[in-house]
């Protein structure tokens, strides 16, 4: 004959009792008023515990998603032996994507095509100009040494 047991009631409600134990429990419940009362209380608890509480998703989730994805892809590439510049390219992809929305950015490719031979000169000219800004003319003769 089964005795009153809180633990058995929980196991019964969880559906974790084998058939003979389940039958014994049901016989016990038919005779024991306090266990029936306790069972009703537990059923209410079970009902409440089974309700998924509403959880608002944080607004920064898409941003975090992007971070995780780039971190994961770049570490996978490193693990698989991709070179440094591939990883760098991947790391800069979000910034390049953002830059692509700047007005007029699309014209750069046309500019580069039409002045293809000018670009090396443009770069070297910029470097020369920057040097002049940093170093006074007099330093050419070794003033900084």
């Amino acid at each position: 004959m089964m005795e009153c047991s809180q633990e058995s009631l929980q196991i019964y409600l969880d559906g974790e009792m084998d058939a003979p134990a389940r039958k014994r429990m049901e016989e016990h419940l038919s005779r024991c008023r306090s266990c029936r009362q306790e069972m009703a209380r537990l059923q209410l608890l079970w009902l409440q515990l089974g309700q998924p509480g509403a959880v608002d998703l944080p607004l920064e989730l898409p941003y975090i998603r992007q971070q995780i994805i780039h971190q994961s892809i770049s570490s996978t590439k490193q693990a698989r032996g991709y070179n440094y510049w591939d990883t760098q390219k991947l790391a800069w992809e979000p910034a390049l994507l953002g830059a692509s929305y700047l007005p007029g950015i699309g014209l750069l490719s046309e500019l580069s095509q039409s002045t293809l031979h000018q670009i090396p000169r443009l770069i070297s000219g910029t470097i020369t100009f920057a040097r002049r800004l940093i170093s006074p003319r007099g330093d050419k003769k070794g003033g900084l040494r």
Binding site: L49, V55, P58, I64, I68, I69, S72
Partner: protein, 190 residues
């Protein structure tokens, strides 16, 4: 037509960024909610969800394609939550978590009832949530796996790497504690 998880995983293995986006978009809500119910606060839940997805993407090569993706994902989430507990020194058994006024399925069910009953159901949900947040993390995790994820004792033991007997004992204690907390509200005897 939406790709199934298996196809997405295959494309992730080939490092297609859109596949990563899609896979994460599909499951980030599920993972975040699981972590939130475990941690009881937004910040820890975000950290846990982030850590979970990093582990998921790192382990994609080990995922067996003939198995369902969601249980595999849940197992990683649970392991991340357990690691979070192990890192905590000293282990915090109780946290003070203010309850948010969230709408539950019970609220939706209650919407067809009269306003007094609806209010009572919401109030019960709030008290239950507070009681849950006073449980230790590990008890809460087991409650989530049993009642929200609908896992059997054995499945919980497998997910958490805990002995079956410990799962039973912890679940019993957790629910006994909840019953005690709710008995004040319902005016039940001890």
């Amino acid at each position: 037509m939406a790709e199934d998880d298996r196809q997405l995983v295959l494309r992730c293995r080939d490092m297609h960024e859109e596949a990563y986006q899609e896979l994460m978009h599909r499951y980030e809500g599920y993972v975040y909610r699981l972590c939130y119910n475990f941690a009881g606060n937004r910040e820890d839940a975000l950290d846990l969800a982030q850590e979970t997805f990093i582990r998921v993407f790192k382990g994609l090569d080990t995922y067996q394609l003939n198995r369902a993706f969601k249980p595999w994902l849940r197992r990683i989430t649970v392991n991340t939550c357990i690691s979070f507990l192990e890192k905590r020194t000293p282990p915090a058994l109780y946290i003070d978590q203010p309850s948010a006024d969230g709408t539950t399925l019970g609220d939706i069910l209650a919407s067809s009832r009269d306003p007094a009953q609806e209010f009572e159901w919401k109030e019960t949900g709030r008290i239950m949530k507070e009681a849950l947040n006073r449980l230790s993390h590990i008890y809460r995790l087991l409650i989530i796996l049993r009642h929200q994820e609908d896992l059997s004792y054995q499945e919980i033991a497998d997910e958490t790497n805990m002995p079956l007997g410990t799962v039973k004992t912890y679940l019993f204690r957790a629910r006994a504690a909840l019953r005690k907390e709710m008995s004040g509200y319902y005016a039940w005897g001890e």
